[in-house]
């Protein structure tokens, strides 16, 4: 995703969102600063310094594994001249100061956290440092030119001044915030590009990292929810039967979206839920089953209802030396985060509600907590926890809405736990997609004409109403929000990203898109439209290269701009993989793709074992500008590659009557330790501003593998998931 979510925000901002990049003390009252403590020195929203000398950073982005907590602390620490590990941190509450400048809401997504906040966080760190130095000047009379920050202290070169940050807090609090504090030169960096530690690792190996169902809330009951298995279906009646009499059961009742079963612990709740009689009905909307969806999408490819998203040049008058026309398919896939959806909540003495949840959009969570509990938004407190995987799934707050409704009825603490089956069957799925690719090549095998037709349901049309509930003022009626969600769908960039904005240069280049909705809920799945579209475009570019008898790397280079980052990463990965001379018995496939402002090239290397291809190794080169934490960048490439390969080899959600047919890890499988390739990652040395890393590793994985499979077997696979047989 790139433009879609952002464009939505720009439009939505007309309807009422304010845009702020943090609040500073000047011009704002104390109440406007998050976690304000009057005794602390808090030059900006992102950190405060206590009189004890502790620097406490606000982790205002969701830590879901991508390493943003480490990134935020590292960038602040660089300018503060501190060891990042010596900063304390707090998970930030939803607060207008943390509204994403591109998305209005406090969303973590689009791999944009470090890209958007690198300068901001450096400036905040530098502002704090300079104000502490000014405070030391006032307290000691030593000129600023003699003072410097080091290890959480302000020191003088002659050794006469050595003050802890805490000793300067009272004075610093009286100072005006400087406009343009000097930033460090890159050559002087001690942390950025140099530190490789991950600051949340210890809590994640000793069992203390807190997730949504680990909240320290005493005497919490446990709730499970029965939901209609049919998307857009309904409940034709239910009765608790004997379930209410079962041991440990507290209550069973209907909420908006399902039937809640509340018990003393999860097991009792789950047992009772199985004893509840339900009469779920499928809805009447069209396109509820995988076969029908496929047939309708095939018909849509032939039809004349489409939007021309991009057209450069004119189609050739006559067909070229070679022409190709093929069809690609991608199924629905699920997020399957390791932590199923959870949330813990309790009523507060003042009539509000307090919720612990790991969420990518805490202000959406806040809006749903308030709605579910029946209070104004400012009466809903959100404690964001670590996320047990996000990948886009936890941008929604359906779990928060449920738990808030349940607490409203129970009026005591409740922990909501979804089963794996709940999670698999009530996800916001990556859309199903069908594409037709056609091309005309000239006598040299250069592309004359490239046409990319996509039929896919719009993600934004489905999910934007869910978000708008939070982004818009509470008084806007729901129907208006749905209408805006529908308007967005007409220009849903998420369906065409990675194709409409590709860097390939083709004389005639046409992209057309048909939005065809099914009943299934849709959401943002790690790299969003790029994940399917990169598979299609990079597989088809490979097909064009082979059709013209040219080397796939050379063919790509020839159609990419001369000084592009794409060529740089391609050349790098080709060298890493020994592309021109692979080891005997090894087969290589390549893909290159830009997403979230980073460019990644990958080569998959296969061997053949008993006539079956075996994935041996993946080489990866990324240009992400400055790598703030190089080892986390490498970890994200490994992660993105394995995520992409898992979907490429195993990911397929099918539906019947609007109900998902898969349920758990036996029928929706993941790559495991014994199945993963070796992975080697190189980061292109760059001093450019940092760009995305959480998602860009994913898109090239599937096409690199598909292209290697073609090299090994001579068979072109155009449908996901791919077969290793």
């Amino acid at each position: 995703m790139t433009m879609s979510r952002r464009q939505f925000i720009r439009n939505a901002s007309v309807a009422g969102g304010a845009l702020t990049i943090g609040f500073s003390l000047s011009g704002c009252s104390d109440q406007q600063l998050p976690k304000r403590n009057a005794a602390d020195f808090q030059p900006d929203s992102y950190l405060r310094v206590t009189p004890d000398g502790e620097v406490i950073a606000q982790v205002f982005k969701a830590e879901m594994g991508q390493g943003v907590l480490t990134g935020i602390l590292s960038v602040l620490a660089e300018e503060l001249e501190m060891d990042p590990a010596s900063l304390r941190y707090e998970m930030a509450p939803p607060h207008p100061a943390f509204a994403d400048p591109e998305m209005i809401m406090q969303v973590t997504g689009g791999s944009n956290s470090i890209r958007l906040y690198y300068d901001t966080l450096r400036t905040v760190g530098a502002t704090t440092r300079e104000m502490l130095i000014t405070a030391a000047v006032q307290q000691t009379g030593t000129p600023a030119s003699e003072l410097y920050a080091e290890a959480g202290r302000i020191r003088s070169r002659d050794g006469s001044v050595d003050l802890g940050f805490g000793d300067l807090v009272a004075t610093a609090n009286t100072l005006a915030v400087p406009e343009n504090p000097p930033l460090k030169q890159a050559a002087d960096f001690k942390v950025i590009g140099r530190q490789n530690d991950r600051l949340d690792a210890q809590a994640k190996v000793d069992g203390t990292a807190m997730f949504g169902s680990d909240a320290p809330v005493e005497n919490a009951l446990v709730a499970v929810v029965l939901r209609c298995p049919h998307a857009e279906g309904s409940c034709g009646g239910w009765d608790a039967g004997e379930a209410k009499q079962l041991a440990g059961v507290e209550d069973i009742f209907q909420i908006d979206g399902g039937i809640a079963v509340v018990a003393r612990n999860y097991w009792r709740a789950r047992q009772a839920a199985e004893a509840v009689n339900t009469n779920w009905q499928a809805g009447a909307a069209p396109l509820q089953s995988s076969d029908d969806i496929d047939a309708a999408f095939a018909a849509a490819l032939e039809g004349d209802e489409y939007e021309v998203v991009r057209e450069d040049g004119k189609p050739p008058v006559a067909a070229g030396a070679r022409t190709l026309a093929v069809e690609y398919n991608a199924p629905f896939v699920a997020h399957a985060t390791m932590e199923p959806q959870t949330a813990t909540a309790r009523p507060m003495a003042d009539g509000g509600i307090e919720v612990w949840v790991g969420n990518q959009a805490p202000d959406v969570a806040q809006a749903y907590a308030a709605k579910g509990f029946g209070v104004a938004r400012d009466r809903a407190i959100i404690h964001n926890t670590f996320l047990g995987g996000g990948f886009g799934r936890r941008a929604a707050a359906d779990n928060v809405y449920e738990v808030a409704q349940i607490v409203a009825r129970m009026q005591q603490p409740v922990k909501l736990v979804w089963s794996r089956e709940d999670d698999m069957r009530h996800d916001f799925y990556r859309p199903v997609m069908k594409a037709r690719l056609s091309a005309s090549l000239d006598g040299n095998g250069d592309v004359e004409s490239y046409t990319h037709q996509i039929v896919a349901p719009s993600i934004n049309q489905k999910i934007m109403p869910h978000f708008l509930n939070a982004a818009m003022p509470a008084w806007v009626p729901h129907g208006v929000k749905s209408a805006i969600g529908n308007m967005q769908a007409d220009t849903d960039h998420a369906s065409v990203e990675g194709v409409a904005d590709t860097s390939y240069q083709f004389p005639h280049f046409r992209v057309q898109y048909t939005n065809l909705q099914t009943v299934m809920p849709l959401g943002f799945w790690r790299s969003v439209g790029h994940s399917q579209n990169a598979f299609v475009i990079e597989s088809f570019v490979d097909e064009m290269a082979h059709a013209s008898g040219r080397d796939p790397v050379e063919f790509r280079r020839a159609h990419l701009p001369e000084d592009s980052r794409h060529r740089t990463v391609l050349d790098k990965v080709a060298a890493m993989a020994n592309w021109n001379q692979p080891a005997p018995g090894r087969y290589l496939g390549v893909a290159v793709h830009e997403s979230f402002y980073s460019v990644v090239a990958e080569v998959a290397e296969l061997s053949m074992e008993g006539g079956r291809p075996k994935l041996e190794k993946v080489y990866c080169a990324i240009d992400c500008g400055i790598a703030v934490n190089p080892d986390i960048v490498k970890a994200q490439m490994e992660s993105g590659i394995i995520f992409g390969l898992t979907a490429a080899l195993k990911g397929k959600i099918t539906v019947k009557d609007g109900a998902v047919e898969q349920s758990n890890f036996h029928d929706y499988q993941m790559l495991r330790m014994n199945e993963i390739p070796e992975i080697e990652v190189a980061i292109i040395d760059s001093q450019a501003a940092p760009t995305g890393v959480g998602e860009p590793g994913t898109p090239p994985a599937a096409p690199a593998l598909a292209n290697a499979l073609f090299a090994a077997t001579g068979k072109r696979q155009r449908d996901l998931p791919l077969q290793l047989a």
Binding site: G207, P340, R420, A635, E638, S639, F665
Partner: protein, 175 residues
Amino acid sequence: MSPETIIFTLNGQPARLEIEPDTPLLWVLRDELAMNGTKFGCGRGLCGACTVHLEGSPIRSCSLPVSAVAGKAVTTIEGLSAAGDHPLQKAWVAENAPQCGYCQSGQIMSAAALLAARPNPTDADINAYMSGNICRCGTYPRIRKAIKRAAAEMAADAVATWEPGQSADAEEVLS
């Protein structure tokens, strides 16, 4: 099912509770004893997030009724080391293995059982012991490295503390 008294040893301490005996150990740990380090992932023994040790052997606590641990010793991530500094935990940090972190308690408990059985594991041993644990973040390459790092550290420690005439185990490490 009526509650019964179940007594077992949890991380070296006695645990006693009145509970329906069919309740899986996972929910006894999490909901009754507030031991939250052990995680729920699938409920069917398919993902390994809930792995703990029963008498030193790895088991999936989501699928084991608590009645089966009566009179026995259970170890969870909280009991693996006193200060979160088991060689595996240190190696996990050194290799930056965790990402979201949710599966890592189970991964580490499986790895601890592996090293107890195979102090110097091959890649095949690691595959055999660890392929029951899913990691959605794809931290497998680092888990593999961390297991090898911990194995090397434990072997070095065994050598460093070995004196002639000590246990046969230590001699085995040397050979």
